[in-house]
């Protein structure tokens, strides 16, 4: 299956979204990513039982922290995508790209304000 997803999405592979910690998401924002999202398996389908559920809680904690420091929490998101569902993966990449485009460039990315930069994790 050859599907297109926006070229601004940079994928960071992790063994399970349970490995994703708050600091990974914060670092992406700190380094100027316009948005960062975690693409985990469907709920109930985690190979390690609850990795994706933990990832969601950490994403929520990062959103809360960002809100407190005046960064739009929508720049960070958790999505559940089945590993075999290529079309949904591409749809999520487009949805997040559109959302972040709507928010505009990250206030931390003053050096390259037009470069839309997203990071998917998972």
């Amino acid at each position: 299956m050859r599907l297109n997803y926006p070229p601004n999405v940079r994928i960071v592979a992790v063994p399970c979204t349970g490995r994703v910690d708050m600091i990974h998401l914060l670092r992406a924002i700190e380094q100027g990513a316009d948005g960062v999202y975690v693409a985990g398996c469907m709920e109930g389908e985690c190979h390690f039982v609850s990795g994706n559920l933990k990832a969601r809680r950490r994403v929520e904690a990062v959103k809360k922290l960002l809100r407190e420091i005046g960064i739009e929490p929508e720049r960070v998101e958790m999505f559940n995508v089945s590993a075999s569902d290529g079309p949904r993966f591409a749809a999520v990449a487009r949805e997040m790209t559109e959302r972040v485009r709507g928010l505009g460039p990250s206030p931390l990315a003053k050096d390259h304000p037009l470069d839309l930069h997203l990071q998917a994790v998972g």
Partner: protein, 223 residues
């Protein structure tokens, strides 16, 4: 262990508002175990502060460093290379409130506490902590089935329960178990409920904070 939690980010940002070079110091003791001020939390707070300040157009040069402990002078000494050359103009400590005081005692720097030191307690489950002792200085829990009425009864009653105990909960809040109910249940289970007839005299608080700041000296351990 000592249980602490991070102060709100706004409060911390306001503390360091006038500073440009800050050393953020974590502690690998109690606050690492209660996930408030170890290496991981130092990383998260450091990143959040840098993001907030960069966004505000007033970048913060913040360096992260986590000590073995902040309640022993030998570890505080390890900060000397960083704090004696003028590299930093303030220190933000993520230890319990002993840490910032030890740093301030050793170095002539502005020191800020990033945590609120909350109580002496333990974890009920991952991510949940509760108070179990208030260091009264004269432990008496053996009289009460091993449960502490000083720290776990809202009124620190020695002869409970009070009239507010209802359905096992304290009248102060439904979230609080009435420890005197727990004591009664446990004494019953232990076959010692008759011991609850004993009236305990009012507690001598001189071993607690009422005697002023406390200090322990052990001649056998001195170097």
């Amino acid at each position: 262990m000592v249980i602490a939690e991070r102060k709100p980010i706004e409060e911390i940002l306001a503390m360091v508002a006038d500073f440009k070079k800050v050393l953020l110091v974590g502690c690998k003791g109690c606050v690492t175990v209660c996930c408030a001020g170890g290496t991981k939390e130092v990383g998260i707070l450091g990143s959040a502060l840098r993001i907030a300040r960069k966004k505000a157009g007033n970048p913060l040069a913040l360096v992260e460093h986590t000590l073995e402990r902040q309640c022993d002078p030998e570890y505080i000494e390890q900060l000397a290379p960083m704090l004696e050359n003028g590299e930093f103009d303030a220190v933000l400590s993520m230890a319990c409130s002993v840490g910032p005081q030890f740093i301030a005692k050793r170095y002539l720097k502005q020191v800020f506490p990033a945590l609120n030191t909350t109580f002496i307690g333990g974890s009920l489950e991952h991510g949940v902590w509760a108070e179990f002792c208030q260091s009264c200085g004269n432990c008496i829990i053996h009289n009460f089935g091993g449960l502490c009425p000083i720290s776990r009864c809202s009124k620190s009653l020695m002869n409970g329960p009070c009239g507010g105990s209802s359905g096992g909960k304290c009248e102060v809040s439904n979230e609080i178990d009435c420890v005197w109910q727990l004591i009664y249940d446990r004494m019953t289970a232990l076959g010692q409920v008759d011991r609850m007839r004993k009236i305990f005299p009012i507690k001598d608080w001189s071993t607690s904070r009422d005697g002023g700041p406390r200090k322990i000296t052990r001649e056998d351990l001195k170097l």
